[in-house]
Amino acid sequence: MLQSVTCLGCGCGCDDLTVRVRDGRIAELSPPCPVARQWFGDGSVPREIRTDGQSTTVEQAVEAAAALLSGAEHPVVIIAPDLTTRAQCIAIAVADALRAEVDGTTSDSAAAGMLVAQRRGRAAASLGEIKNRADMVLFWAVDPRERYPRYLERYAAAESATHVRSRRFVSVSVGDDRGPEPAELAAQFAPGEEVDALAIIQATLRGRRPGELPPRLQPAVAIAERLLQGKYIAVVHDAEALGAGRDPQRVEGLLALTQLLNGPTRAALSSLRAGGNRSGAEAALTWQTGYPMRVSFREGHPHYHAGRAGLERLGSDGADALLVAGSVAPLDHPALALGRIPAVVIGPRASAMAGARVAIDTGVAGIHEAGTGYRMDEVPLPLTSLLEHPRGAAATLGLLLSVLRRRAEAKPG
């Protein structure tokens, strides 16, 4: 039985799980969390090594991978979230050595939020601060219980806290994206109205009385007034929201609102992020290159291509080789079938990805491979190895890196 196990099932990064292992399989998880159960499964993953569909040794597969990647003009490296941060760092080093484009799997929605935060900064907090201080929580178009099952219990509605005894909830729904119930104040805006509503809240906080408002926007004034009653306000939104109704300006409004609340009172934006170590990839890219995502090394140094995700580049720009470090679900999509671009996949379930020229299965971060993973609030946590796997992603990517270096040194000039 293993205790204090960290879960990367969603960005909550709960590190209080107890896991029972029996016969090399995960037999029990507690507390029970449906998303965690999905993340861990029984822990069994494939252990194959293939080049062009044939089983081979890791040395040969890595040589083949290095040949394929170093022969390319415009390689692309994708860093998946099911890796430890150290493995992600090595994948970035590979991209640097190859002068490749590199990206994590930051969703379009999260990337939009990142770009706004780069432009204006942000007011945020570690999750424990929300647990300990937030006496007022504004949920903006999200009920965390669906995709972030323990977010309320552990953080925004936690029972034990240093500074708050009771909490007040304000719940905003936008279109079909419902806020949680019950709440002390609930409001509903249509998708086309939410940005206006956010602007009205800000204007009210600034002490400007908006003129005559259409009835559907009037709750925005009440929300502003209610928020001002809080000593420490957590503004909770889903940074991964994908719904058709989501207004791309939403995140700008939420960032601005949260910054503005710091003045009359205190506030932090809590951006819910999906599972895996995606914040780790963004952190590592930032410290190694200066940019959190969408970096190109083509010119021999990092260059920021903030506008477009690495995955989108595969279809254009003449990408002629691909390294996937970890497993990336969209690559299983027929439109992105790996067969079109020669691909190397090193990571969990690599051999299950159709069309990869080189596939090396490794363990999963926090299930088979120990290391560090980042929570949605960018707090790094230790990941344990619960089960054996013959290969770690960090070690295998490290092998690839050393073969690439050797080849580069052997090259004249």
């Binding site: 204090s4 990142m114 999750l127 601060e129 647990k131 930032t286 190694q288 010119e299 990092p302």
Partner: protein, 551 residues
């Protein structure tokens, strides 16, 4: 033969103030990473005739490897785009590209420190919760032996112990926390002020304010942690960023803090930001003379200056209420991250302009501290990188200290509004000697950090050596060392970085009474979002240093 094993640096003018050598021609013999008394004939030599030889630089206070720095990096994509860093042409080993600006990427940071002849550096503000992140960044910061200071003084557990008068428990906690974070020193930032900011009290304003309605004051926090560090026999005493940073008239708070701790070893950091006279609404003035007079007279006090240099900077501090005000006054990008149970983080990019009255005053205050100090061993050169300017501006700062003509010229160009009555404006003739520069950039900080094998080149010292070509342009001389040796490896040759070995991690693991662990576990279970077992950083590079013995 590997570049590491043996090297005789021949004929240079050695500045090794810790060993009483002031520019005399001496050979430095190196074997297996250490300085030795002699080498057999035929050992490889490095011709340093006509050059200046010093121990490697030691940065006692900078911000370059932390979660806060990473947030700051995100705020300046334009700076990174304007200063791309290609991989250096190394003779062997990994060479990485990166980006520069005021907060460079990690590899670039290591390369640039090495290129400046600095071989040891400390990140001075790490929230222990995020220490794991700092160590990961340090793993990617080559060329420098490095460590972190652990932020304390606004932590819930500590405040509770102080409130209850549990001073020994507070000391055990500090000891445990240093080990858990893999840290080297205790850092206090705005004692009580960050907790006040997070609790909606805005800030504390003096040493006897209550902190968010508790029976705890900044004064009590200062005393408890200063005593803890001294009783634990830490190699570096408590490292203090005082209350009221950047506030007009704050010299009174700074002096009061020093007086409170009179007779106790303590280091006051980026003193420049804490030496302002004047009154709110009536304008600013320099109070550097008064504060440095106190420092001069009190051998138990040491400081680093935190000089402001004109140009772009990035303010990164745990002192979040200060950054809020800076954002309000500058209107620039602002990141604030509250860090549970421990600390805060505020970030605002900033440009110091010589035509801006306050910037000009800050520049003058820093220089006055340097020029009026009587004991260079206790007044360290720093810019609080990147808060007062990048570490890349150290050579320009050294020039200001060594070359009065350059300094006086510059002084004429700055805004004079708040300079009336300042010592520098009245004329300070002092020029630092090379030996004094060697003290304030290496020998002094190494001694204050208790790093006995650093900052000096006696037998047994770490073979970290910087060799400069003489140049009448002091800034140019110090910005491009001709050779740098790190741990016996020649890393810079003819001004080019040729090798980039990993540095050592400098950290401590002091002992404590186990009772604190049981109590902390309960505290974590109730209030932390991280399990107690997962909190301490594990599997770090290099064992902790043994307290009380040579590194």
């Amino acid at each position: 033969m590997s570049a590491k094993t043996r090297l005789r640096i021949v004929g240079g003018a050695l500045h090794d103030p810790a060993n009483g050598v002031d520019g005399e021609e001496r050979d430095v013999c190196i074997e297996d990473g250490r300085v030795v008394a002699s080498l057999p004939d035929g050992a490889p030599t490095l011709d340093a005739r006509g050059m200046v030889v010093m121990p490697g630089g030691v940065d006692i206070h900078a911000h370059f490897a932390s979660s806060s720095c990473n947030h700051a990096r995100r705020l300046i994509p334009e700076e990174h785009a304007a200063d791309p860093a290609s991989p250096p042409r190394l003779l062997d080993g990994e060479s990485r590209s990166g980006s520069g600006g005021t907060v460079p990427s990690t590899f670039t940071t290591g390369y640039r420190y090495a290129g400046l002849g600095y071989t040891t550096a400390f990140d001075a503000a790490v929230a222990p919760l995020l220490a794991r992140h700092s160590h990961a960044e340090l793993d990617d910061t080559p060329c420098v032996d490095a460590g972190i200071f652990a932020l304390m003084g606004n932590d819930e557990y500590l405040l509770r112990q102080i409130e209850r008068g549990e001073r020994e428990r507070a000391r055990d906690y500090a000891a445990w926390l240093l080990g858990a974070a893999g840290a080297y020193a205790v850092k206090i930032v705005n004692p009580g002020g960050i907790e006040a900011w997070k609790a909606g009290q805005r800030n504390v304003t003096g040493l006897d304010d209550e902190v968010s309605g508790r029976k705890v004051t900044p004064r009590a926090i200062l005393e408890a942690l200063t005593d803890a560090a001294n009783q634990l026999g830490l190699p570096h005493p408590v490292h203090i960023h005082c209350n009221n940073l950047g506030v007009v008239g704050n010299a009174a708070t700074t002096l009061a803090s020093m007086e409170t701790l009179a007779g106790r070893r303590a280091h006051f950091t980026h003193l420049q930001f804490h030496c302002y006279g004047g009154e709110p609404g009536k304008g600013w003035a320099s109070a550097a003379a008064k504060v440095i007079e106190y420092v001069n007279a009190h051998p138990e006090v040491s400081v680093d200056v935190g000089q402001v240099m004109f140009g772009p900077a990035m303010t990164i501090t745990a002192d979040a209420p200060v950054e809020y005000l800076l954002h309000q006054s500058s209107g620039r990008r602002w990141t604030n991250i509250d860090i549970e149970l421990e600390s805060g983080c505020g970030i605002v990019p900033l440009t110091y302009k010589e035509k801006t009255a306050v910037s000009a005053l800050q520049w003058v205050v820093g220089l006055e501290l340097f020029l009026l100090s009587q004991d260079p061993w206790r007044v360290v050169l720093s810019t609080d990188h990147p808060n007062g300017g990048s570490f890349l501006s150290y050579p320009a700062l050294i020039q200001l200290l060594m070359d009065r003509a350059v300094r006086d010229d510059r002084l004429k160009q700055v805004n004079q509004r708040f300079l009336a009555g300042s010592a520098l404006a009245d004329g300070l003739a002092r020029e630092y000697t090379l030996n004094e520069i060697a003290i304030v950039t290496r020998a002094g900080p190494a001694r204050l950090l208790g790093l006995q094998a650093k900052g000096q080149l006696g037998v047994g010292a770490d073979a970290d050596v910087t060799i400069y070509s003489r140049d009448p342009d002091i800034a140019r001389m110090f910005s491009t060392p001709r050779y740098v040796v790190k741990g016996g490896t020649l890393i810079v040759e003819e001004g080019q970085l040729r090798r980039a070995p990993a540095g050592r991690r400098l950290r401590l693991a002091p002992g404590y009474d186990d009772a604190v662990v049981r109590d902390l576990r309960k505290h974590f279970e109730a209030y932390s979002s991280v399990s107690f077992d997962n909190y301490p950083v594990r599997d770090l590079r290099d064992a902790p240093l043994v307290i009380g013995r040579t590194a």
